[in-house]
Symmetry: C2
Subunit: 274 residues, 2 copies
């Protein structure tokens, strides 16, 4: 059995640390794979970010994030495409395994989710040549249906895979347990993703009951209701061998704790309940 | 074109009124179809509830609600079945068109949604003979996936219809716009429900952005992002001719307003944006 790898999505450590401190804090406990966010790169500057990553020998699983293709005006959509091409370049510069995309929900003036889905497909098609040339795979992340209005109109694994089929090479998906655990078609959808060879990432966290905030109250693995071992079994069965990435947005809990504690507990839980 | 009928789910008026006041308040503005909740019946007693309904010539679209089949112990599951049979009797006593069921999510000790789904199917099968004998159709309500853990493990229209196929006559579904609007398969699922003749109810409200509470911050029609006219077109296309039922849980807004205002505004919105 190959050794399981934990990737630390640096959003998890956002409360305590910037890029340099996060890399140091991860390394101290043996974590060598990370996914930074664009604002964390920007805060130190690209050159310094590259230096931090290279000097510490970090592997960059992905860059978070591009997307947000939907908008009311043509100018805004064009601006989103430009920003996505910029994000692709940044992902290439830090050697990221892929660029994670949160595709966008409804623009302010629309109630038409199907139109949004069309705009997203068009946006992906528009930036795909740039991504292919830069050798940066685009990783569409299907988000939980509770974000359909304001974050992502792609809400199931199958929807993401339909997009991949439509667009061809260079596009895959991130499968996040928090976003997809409820799906009645989960097992079949993960198997399909595996057959298609499109799993570019696997995120873990937990679904708390009760959940106090729809965006910023994700749980540490083991504190909620998701059967993460069963989830991993499906992912591995589908042939995915990449890291499991801890991504926890938690304004009132984990973001308030010392970074060392968050890393330590994430590792403990990764080894016991995931 | 037949006249559209608004049914008032009495949860919408819960903040201001009990059964008697709600019936009076609805009648005053010409609403003659309602769906009461069991606790609202219990608060006045079944005999008085029947009298209020009959004396005012109210049509009862449904009784809310039964369900909650999942539990950790056999004794608790049995108790849930007994309670559901009691709810069926109550629905028959007030002449309700159906009994709405919120089926239950995960019991405290389980992380296995598929097991919950099996328990729900078994529970429905167990109470179905009683429902058929009482001539009370069982109306399974697929709830939004954000309630999978704590309220309902049936989260899409298609899942509900699969249950109907499995169980045979006497079971249908309620299609609630708030719970289902995000579904990428929405149009096909509603059409399938129509072909199967299983649409027992259609609930309306709106999805607010931002939403402040996952349970108690539903919006009045027109205040959110759901295209309710497009939704109605699909429902009518599927052959459904029953009432559209306004069901709004809104602890900090609509439940704090005078009942007369809630009824008036619901009627206005029903006539303009639904």
């Amino acid at each position: 059995m190959s050794e399981r790898v934990l990737s630390m999505n640096l959003a998890t450590l956002r409360g305590a640390w910037g890029l340099a401190e996060a890399v140091e804090g991860c390394l101290k406990q043996g974590i060598t794979t990370i996914s930074p966010w664009r604002d964390q790169i920007k805060a130190v500057g690209m050159e310094e970010a590259r230096r931090i990553i290279a000097a510490n020998g970090m592997r960059v699983a992905s860059l978070c994030r591009g997307g947000m293709f939907v908008a009311d005006t043509k100018a805004e959509r064009q601006s989103a495409l430009d920003d996505n091409r910029q994000a692709i370049d940044e992902a290439a510069e830090i050697g990221a395994g892929c660029l994670v995309l949160v595709v966008g929900g409804l623009p302010p003036s629309s109630k038409d989710l199907n139109e949004s889905r069309k705009v997203v497909a068009e946006g992906l098609a528009a930036i795909l040549p740039h991504a292919r040339a830069a050798k940066v795979p685009l990783a569409v992340e299907p988000l939980h249906p509770m974000y359909a209005a304001d974050r992502a109109c792609i809400n199931t694994i199958d929807q993401g895979l339909d997009l991949c089929e439509q667009l061809g090479d260079g596009v895959g998906i991130v499968i996040d347990a928090y976003h997809t655990w409820w799906d009645p078609n989960l097992a079949a959808a993960i198997a399909r993703a595996g057959r298609m060879g499109r799993i570019l990432g696997h995120h873990i966290s937990d679904w708390l009951v009760p959940m106090r905030d729809m965006l910023l109250d994700r749980g540490m693995m083991g504190d909620g209701v998701i059967d993460l071992k069963a989830f991993r079994a499906m992912i591995e069965q589908a042939g995915y061998q990449g890291p499991q990435e801890v991504e926890i947005f938690s304004r009132d809990n984990w973001w308030k704790r010392p970074g060392d504690d968050v890393v330590r507990i994430a590792l403990e839980r990764f080894n016991t309940v995931c």
